[in-house]
C-alpha cells in the first residue's frame, strides 16, 4: 500500500472506532420517553388487535371490556403479542430473502462481464453488502426512518419520533429523520431492529445496482467511499421522503394529491434510485476501453458466463417474493397473496415480451436480454404489486419487458453510455414506469388510509387523476435529486481519488491488480513443486 493511502486508511479506521465508541456512550445521553423494548417481551399488546380483521374489536370495545373482564383483557394482550410476532417473523424472513438477492446481483453482473474481471465484479457485489450496511447503521437508518413514528404492524412504543421538518406555504415538509443513529439510545428496541434489518437489505439492493453499470473499470478505493455514501446518505434521504414520513408521502394530506407518492415496495425508492445513480456513475466514469468505435458505434462485449447470469436472475426472482410481499411488514395482512402472485405474473410477462421483441427484431431470443426482461417486469411491479389486478400486473410486465430492450439500445446507441449489464434500463427506467403504472392501474381494492388519506388507492383509470400526479411528482423528484446528488458525488470523487483503474490494468483485467485474486487462475499454465 502506498504511504498516503495507508494514512487515509488508518485515519478512516480510527474515525470508525471513535464513532463506535461514541455510539456505545449514547444511551447515557438519551432522553427517557418513549420507552424502548430491547427484549421484545412488551411489544405487541391488546391494542394491536384493533383493525386486525374486519370483525376485530374496536378501541371502544377494548376500553369497556377490560374493566369487566380482566382475563379477556390478558388473553387479548397475548393475541396482540401473537399478531405482532407473526408480523415480525414475516418481516424478518422476507428480509432474509431480500438479503439473498445480493447473491443474485453478484451472479447476474459477473455473468454479463468478462472472465478477466470476474473476481473484481464479485468483490464489489460482495463488499457493497458490508459497506452499505455500515453506512446505513451509522446514519442511513436514522435519516430514513428516524421520524416515522411507529410502524403499526410491528408494534412497539414508537421510539422513532424525530422527523426534521421545515415549514413552507403553511405546510410541513419532512426532510429527514433524527432518531436511530448507530441503532443506539432509545432505538435499542426489538421492533426497531427488525425494521432496520428489513430496510437495510432494501438499501443494499439500491447500493449494488451501480456496481453493474460501472463494472470492469471502476477502481476499488473509490468504490469503498461510494459504498458508505449510498448507504449513509444518498438512499436514505429519498427513502425518508416516501417511506419515513417525509414530504413526498404527505403530498396527499397537504395538497390533495391522491395518497401522496405511493411506492409499495420500492420501484422508485430502491430501483430508480439505484438505476439513476448507475447511469450517472457510468457516464462520469466513461465507457470500457474498446466499447465504442471512433464514429461512436458500439461494439458488443459478450458476458463470459451466461448460465451464471441466468441462475442469478432466478435467485433475484425468488428473493423478490420477500421484497414485495414482505413490504406489507405484516404476515397478518392477507393481501400478501395478491402481492406475491402479481409479482410472479409481471416477471413472466416481462420475460415473455422481451423474448418476443428480441426474436422478432434480431431473429433470436437473446437469453441475456430475457433475463433483463424478467428483472424489468419485477422492478415495474414492485410499486404497484399491492394495488393492481392480475391483468394489470401482466400488462405492466409486458410493457416493462419491451421498455428494457428499447432502453438498452437507447443508452448504448444514443446516449453513448456503457452500461455492461443494463442496470439503468432494468432498474432506473422501469422503476419510473412502476410508480407511474401504479398511478394508472391502482384499482381501489387496497390501501385504505394510506399515508393518512382516507379511502383506498386509485389510479387514473379508476378515477383518481391526482394520484397519477403524485406519482409523477415522486418520479421527477427522484430523477432530479438522485441525478444531481450522485453527479456531484461522482465528479468530486473523480477529482479527489479518481474513479478509473489505469489503462494497462483495464486491458490486463482488474482481478489481480484491484482485488489480489484472479477468478480463474487455471487459465494460466503453472508449475507446482511435486514433493
Amino acid at each position: 500500500m502506498k504511504k498516503p493511502l495507508r494514512k487515509i486508511a488508518t485515519t478512516a479506521l480510527c474515525l470508525l472506532v471513535l464513532l463506535v465508541g461514541l455510539a456505545a456512550a449514547l444511551p447515557a445521553l438519551a432522553d427517557e420517553a418513549p420507552k424502548p423494548d430491547p427484549s421484545g417481551a412488551n411489544t405487541g399488546v391488546i391494542n394491536d388487535i384493533i383493525g386486525a380483521s374486519a370483525g376485530a374489536p374496536t378501541d371502544n370495545d377494548i376500553k369497556t371490556m377490560s374493566e369487566k373482564e380482566p382475563l379477556a383483557a390478558k388473553v387479548g394482550d397475548v393475541a396482540g403479542h401473537n399478531r405482532i410476532s407473526i408480523n415480525i417473523v414475516w418481516t424478518l424472513i422476507c428480509g432474509f430473502l431480500v438479503m439473498f438477492m445480493q447473491a443474485g446481483f453478484a451472479m447476474v453482473e459477473t455473468g454479463f462481464t468478462r472472465a478477466k474481471n470476474a473476481g473484481h465484479t464479485m468483490a464489489m457485489n460482495f463488499m457493497i453488502y458490508g459497506l452499505g450496511m455500515l453506512g446505513y447503521w451509522i446514519c442511513g437508518f436514522a435519516l430514513q426512518m428516524g421520524g416515522v413514528g411507529g410502524v403499526a404492524t410491528l408494534g412497539g412504543a414508537g421510539v422513532l419520533n424525530g422527523e426534521y421538518v421545515i415549514h413552507l406555504f403553511g405546510k410541513e415538509f419532512g426532510l429527514f429523520g433524527t432518531k436511530g443513529f448507530f441503532l443506539s439510545g432509545t432505538t435499542y428496541d426489538a421492533a426497531v431492529f427488525a425494521l432496520f434489518l428489513f430496510q437495510m437489505v432494501f438499501m443494499d439492493t439500491t447500493a449494488t445496482i451501480p456496481t453493474g453499470s460501472m463494472a470492469e473499470r471502476w477502481n476499488f478505493k473509490s468504490f469503498v467511499v461510494y459504498g458508505f455514501f449510498v448507504g449513509g446518505i444518498l438512499y436514505p434521504l429519498f427513502a425518508n421522503w416516501v417511506w419515513g414520513g417525509g414530504w413526498l408521502s404527505t403530498l396527499g394530506k397537504n395538497f390533495g394529491l391522491g395518497h401522496g407518492h405511493v411506492d409499495f415496495a420500492g420501484s422508485s425508492v430502491v430501483h430508480m434510485t439505484g438505476g439513476v445513480a448507475a447511469l450517472v456513475g457510468a457516464w462520469v466514469l466513461g465507457p470500457r476501453l474498446g466499447k465504442f468505435n471512433k464514429d461512436g458505434s458500439p461494439n458488443a462485449i459478450p458476458g463470459h458466463h451466461i448460465p451464471m447470469a441466468v441462475v442469478g436472475t432466478f435467485i433475484l426472482a425468488f428473493g423478490w417474493f420477500g421484497f414485495n410481499a414482505g413490504s406489507s411488514l405484516s404476515g397478518t395482512d392477507l393481501r400478501i397473496g395478491v402481492i406475491a402472485t402479481n409479482t410472479m405474473l409481471a416477471s413472466a410477462a416481462g420475460a415473455f415480451s422481451s423474448m418476443m421483441y428480441m426474436w422478432i427484431r434480431y431473429g433470436k431470443p437473446d437469453i441475456s436480454m430475457i433475463c433483463n426482461g424478467m428483472l424489468a417486469g419485477l422492478v415495474a411491479i414492485t410499486a404497484p404489486c399491492a394495488f393492481v389486478t392480475a391483468p394489470s400486473a401482466v400488462l405492466i410486465g409486458v410493457i416493462a419487458g419491451v421498455l428494457v430492450c428499447l432502453s438498452v439500445f437507447f443508452v448504448e446507441r444514443t446516449l453513448k453510455i456503457d452500461d455492461p449489464v443494463g442496470a439503468f434500463s432494468v432498474h432506473g427506467l422501469n422503476g419510473a414506469w412502476g410508480v407511474i403504472a401504479l398511478g394508472i392501474f391502482a384499482d381501489g381494492a387496497y390501501g385504505d388510509g394510506w399515508n393518512g388519506v382516507s379511502g383506498t388507492v386509485k389510479g387514473l383509470l379508476y378515477g383518481d387523476a391526482s394520484q397519477f400526479a403524485a406519482q409523477l411528482v415522486g418520479t421527477l423528484t427522484n430523477l432530479i435529486y438522485v441525478g444531481l446528488v450522485s453527479l456531484i458525488f461522482f465528479v468530486i470523487l473523480k477529482k479527489v481519488i479518481g474513479l478509473r483503474v489505469p489503462e494497462e490494468v483495464e486491458i490486463e483485467g482488474l482481478d489481480q491488480a484491484e482485488v489480489a485474486v484472479t477468478a480463474y487462475p487455471d487459465f494460466n499454465l503453472r508449475n507446482l513443486p511435486k514433493y
Binding site: A300, P302, S368, V408, E412
Partner: protein
C-alpha cells in the same frame, strides 16, 4: 514417412479418431486450435450489437504414417470429417524426416 495434419470441426474428433484406428493407426496428437479460412469467421448479435467471431474453435489432429498409407488415411479422414458445409477444415501432408521413440531409442519406421 509422412506427417498428416487435419484441421476439423471439434464435434468430428471422435469420428476421425475411430476412422484412423480402423486404418491401423495406433497413435495421434490432438490440439485445440482457433482459426479462419475463406469465410473469415462470422457475425453474432449480443444484446442487439453485432460482433465478429473471426477465430473459430477447431481441432487439429496430427498423425505420422508410412508414406504408402497416406492416400488411404487421407481418404478416411475425408469421409469421417466431412459434413459438406462451410468450415469442414483442411488436411495438410508433410514429409517427415525422422521419428524417435523416446523409451527405446528406436528410429525411423520402427518408431511409428
Amino acid at each position: 514417412m509422412k506427417k498428416i495434419e487435419a484441421i476439423i470441426k471439434p464435434f468430428k474428433v471422435d469420428d476421425v479418431k475411430k476412422a484412423l484406428n480402423e486404418a491401423g493407426i495406433t497413435g495421434m496428437t490432438v490440439l485445440e486450435v482457433r482459426g479462419f479460412g475463406r469465410q473469415k469467421g462470422h457475425t453474432e448479435i449480443y444484446r442487439g450489437a453485432e460482433y465478429v467471431v473471426d477465430f473459430l474453435p477447431k481441432i487439429k489432429v496430427e498423425v505420422a504414417v508410412p508414406a504408402e498409407s497416406v492416400p488411404a488415411v487421407v481418404e478416411r479422414i475425408l469421409t469421417a470429417a466431412r459434413t459438406g458445409k462451410i468450415g469442414d477444415g483442411k488436411i495438410f501432408v508433410y514429409d517427415l524426416e525422422e521419428v524417435v521413440r523416446i523409451r527405446t531409442g528406436e528410429r525411423g519406421r520402427e518408431a511409428l
